[in-house]
C-alpha cells in the first residue's frame, strides 16, 4: 500500500476549497452591533420581579382591609348610601362645568387648531362618563392627571405633545447606538426621572453644556466646559445633533459654540469649531425608534440628502435600514398618489390597504405631521384614508403640525 508523503498532503491541503460565509455584511453588522451595545445586567435577574412581588403584597395588605371597610360602610344603611350619591353628583357636575368652560376657549382658536387631536371631545366624553359613574369622579383633577388624560384618553400612544404641556422644554437624547438622536418632552422638572433604559436612550450628550440665548431669541451661544474633549465620530455627531434639536425651536441660522474662555471647541474629526448650522426646513424625515425588547416607540428624525420634495420625503419614511432600532413610520401598503401644497397647507392623497390597527394609522399620521412641520408646512389635509372609526384626529379637516413631539409622561 502506497504511503502518503508530506508533499502529497500539503498539495491536498492547498487545494481545499474556500468556504464562503452566506450571511450578508448588513446582517452580521446588525447582530454584532446589537450585542456590542447590549448593557450588562447590573442587578441579579430575580431582584426586580422579587421587589415587585413584595410591593404588590404590601399594597394588597394595605388596600384589601380598606376596601372591605369601605364596602361594609356602603351597606350599613340607606341613608349613608344616599348621602354618598349626593356627594359624588356634586363632584361630577362641578367637573363637567369645568370641562364645558374649557371648550369655548379652544373654539376661539383658528380652524386649523380645531383639527388638533380631539382632546376636548374626549374630555367631554370623560366628563359625561364621570357624571354617570358616581364614585370614580371623586378623584380630584390635578395638573398631572390632566396631562395623562391628554395622552392616554383614547388608549392610544400619541407621539405628539398636546398644547397642555407646552411649558415643558424639548430635551434631546441620543439613541442607544448613537446613530440617531431623539428630541423628547419629558413632563417633569427632574430629568433624572426620565426612564432612559426602557426607551433605549443613551446618556444625554449635552448635559455639560450651557445655552445662552439672546433676549430677542435670534442668537444662541453654546458654552462648552473648558476641558471639553470628545472621542469617536458617532458621539461627536450625537453631540452636534443633540444641540441642533435642543435648539430647533429658535429662529436662528447659526448656533455659535465656544468654551468657557471663548476659545473654539475641539469637536473630534470636525476639528476646532466656532459654529454649527441650525436645523433648516427639509433636512429630516421622521421614522420610529424602538429599542430592542422595548414596547415604547419614539419619533426619530432621520437626516435626508439632496433636499427631497415632500412626496419624496414621504417615500423615504417607508424605507428601512438607515439606522439600528429605527423602522419605517409608514407601512409598505400605503401609497401616496398626489401631494399638493397651498399656503402652508399640504394635501396628501393616500391609497392604502387594511390597517393593522388604529394605532398604526395614528403613528403614521403623527410621523407625517412631524415631517410636514420639518418641511415648513402649517397643516396637513389627508385625503383617501378610509377607516370606519378613527377617534384621535378628525381626518376630514386639516390637522395642524405639532410644535413638539415625543411627550414623555412620567408617573
Amino acid at each position: 500500500m502506497k504511503k502518503h508523503k508530506d508533499e502529497d498532503v500539503e498539495n491536498l491541503l492547498n487545494k481545499l476549497p474556500s468556504i464562503e460565509d452566506r450571511q450578508s455584511k448588513e446582517a452580521v453588522f446588525q447582530k454584532v452591533s446589537s450585542r456590542v451595545n447590549k448593557k450588562k445586567r447590573k442587578t441579579p435577574p430575580w431582584l426586580l420581579p422579587g421587589m415587585a412581588t413584595i410591593a404588590a403584597v404590601v399594597l394588597l395588605a394595605v388596600f384589601i382591609p380598606v376596601y372591605f371597610n369601605n364596602n361594609n360602610e356602603m351597606f350599613t344603611g340607606e341613608e349613608s348610601t344616599d348621602q354618598m350619591h349626593t356627594t359624588s353628583d356634586t363632584y361630577s357636575s362641578s367637573e363637567f362645568e369645568e370641562t364645558e368652560e374649557a371648550i369655548p376657549s379652544a373654539e376661539d382658536e383658528s380652524e386649523v387648531e380645531e383639527a388638533r387631536p380631539e382632546e376636548n371631545d374626549n374630555e367631554r366624553e370623560d366628563a359625561s362618563i364621570a357624571e354617570d359613574d358616581g364614585k370614580e369622579s371623586e378623584v380630584p383633577k390635578t395638573e398631572e392627571n390632566n396631562v395623562q388624560t391628554v395622552e392616554d384618553t383614547n388608549g392610544f400612544n400619541s407621539l405628539i405633545a398636546g398644547p397642555n404641556i407646552e411649558q415643558y422644554e424639548t430635551v434631546t437624547y441620543p439613541g442607544m447606538n448613537g446613530e440617531v438622536v431623539l428630541p423628547l418632552v419629558p413632563v417633569t422638572e427632574n430629568l433624572e426621572q426620565v426612564p432612559s433604559t426602557s426607551y433605549g436612550l443613551a446618556e444625554r450628550a449635552t448635559s455639560d453644556l450651557k445655552y445662552e440665548i439672546s433676549e430677542q431669541g435670534d442668537t444662541v451661544t453654546v458654552i462648552f466646559p473648558e476641558d471639553f474633549s470628545v472621542s469617536g465620530s458617532s458621539w461627536t455627531q450625537a453631540i452636534i445633533e443633540s444641540i441642533r434639536w435642543d435648539l430647533a425651536h429658535l429662529e436662528t441660522d447659526t448656533i455659535m459654540i465656544q468654551t468657557e474662555s471663548g476659545a473654539p471647541v475641539p469637536l473630534g474629526n470636525y476639528g476646532e469649531m466656532t459654529e454649527i448650522p441650525a436645523i433648516k426646513n427639509g433636512e429630516y424625515v421622521f421614522k420610529l425608534y424602538q429599542y430592542e425588547g422595548s414596547d415604547e416607540q419614539l419619533l426619530a428624525p432621520v437626516a435626508v440628502e439632496a433636499s427631497p420634495s415632500f412626496l419624496e420625503a414621504l417615500h423615504l419614511m417607508k424605507e428601512s435600514g438607515q439606522a439600528l432600532y429605527v423602522k419605517p413610520a409608514i407601512p409598505s401598503h400605503v401609497q401616496f398618489t398626489e401631494v399638493s401644497t397651498e399656503e402652508g397647507l399640504v394635501t396628501i392623497n393616500v391609497d392604502h390597504q387594511a390597517w393593522a390597527s388604529e394605532q398604526q394609522l395614528l403613528t403614521m399620521v403623527e410621523a407625517i405631521l412631524a415631517t410636514a412641520e420639518q418641511f415648513g408646512f402649517h397643516a396637513v389635509q389627508f385625503e383617501g384614508i378610509n377607516v370606519r372609526e378613527f377617534s384621535p384626529y378628525n381626518l376630514d379637516e386639516p390637522i395642524a403640525v405639532p410644535e413638539k413631539i415625543n411627550p414623555m409622561i412620567i408617573n
Binding site: 502518503h4 508530506d6 476549497p17 452580521v28 447606538n177
Partner: protein, 182 residues
Amino acid sequence: MRTFFDELYENYHQDLFQFLIYMVKDRSLAEDLVQDVYVRVMKSYDSFNGESTEKTWLFSIARHVAIDHFRKQKRKRNRIMEFFDWTEKGEELQDKKKLPEEIAVQNDQMQHVYRALDECTVDQRSVLIFRYIQGLSIRETADILSWSESKVKTTQHRGMKALKTKLDKIDEGRGEHEEAQR
C-alpha cells in the same frame, strides 16, 4: 463603529470565516463564532496597541474564540457523560457531521483530508489551516499564535504526521474492502 466594522469586514471577513469553519466544521456555528470575534474586537479595540498587525491581532482573537468554544463543548460533554453511559454510542457519534457543499462536491481524497483534520489537535489544526489553507508564512503564524517559529514548525510537522497516518489508514481500509469484494 460602523466605519471600523466595514474596514475589518472588507479586509478580513472571508479569511476569518474560512479559519473558523475549518476549525469547527459547522457552518452555523462558524457564523456565530465570527460574530463573537467581531464583538470581542469592537469591545477591545481601545486595548489594541499596534504592537502586532491588525491581521495578527484579529486572527489571534479568532483562535481564542475557537478554543473557548472547544472548552465549553468539552465541559458540556463531561457534564452529560456524568449522567449517561456514552462508552459505546459515543464513538458512533463522531464524524457524522454534514459536509459543507463546497467540500461535498470535491473528490473522495479531498473529503478524506477534510475529515482527517479532526485527527489533529486544536493547535495542530490551527497551524495547518494558517499555513496551507490561508497561505500564511511561518513568521505570521508564529505571531498570531504568540509562539516561536520553531514551535510552529514542530506543531506543523506533528499535524502533518497525524494527517498522513489517518489518510494511510483510510487507504488501507479501502484496499481491504476492495479485496473482499473481489
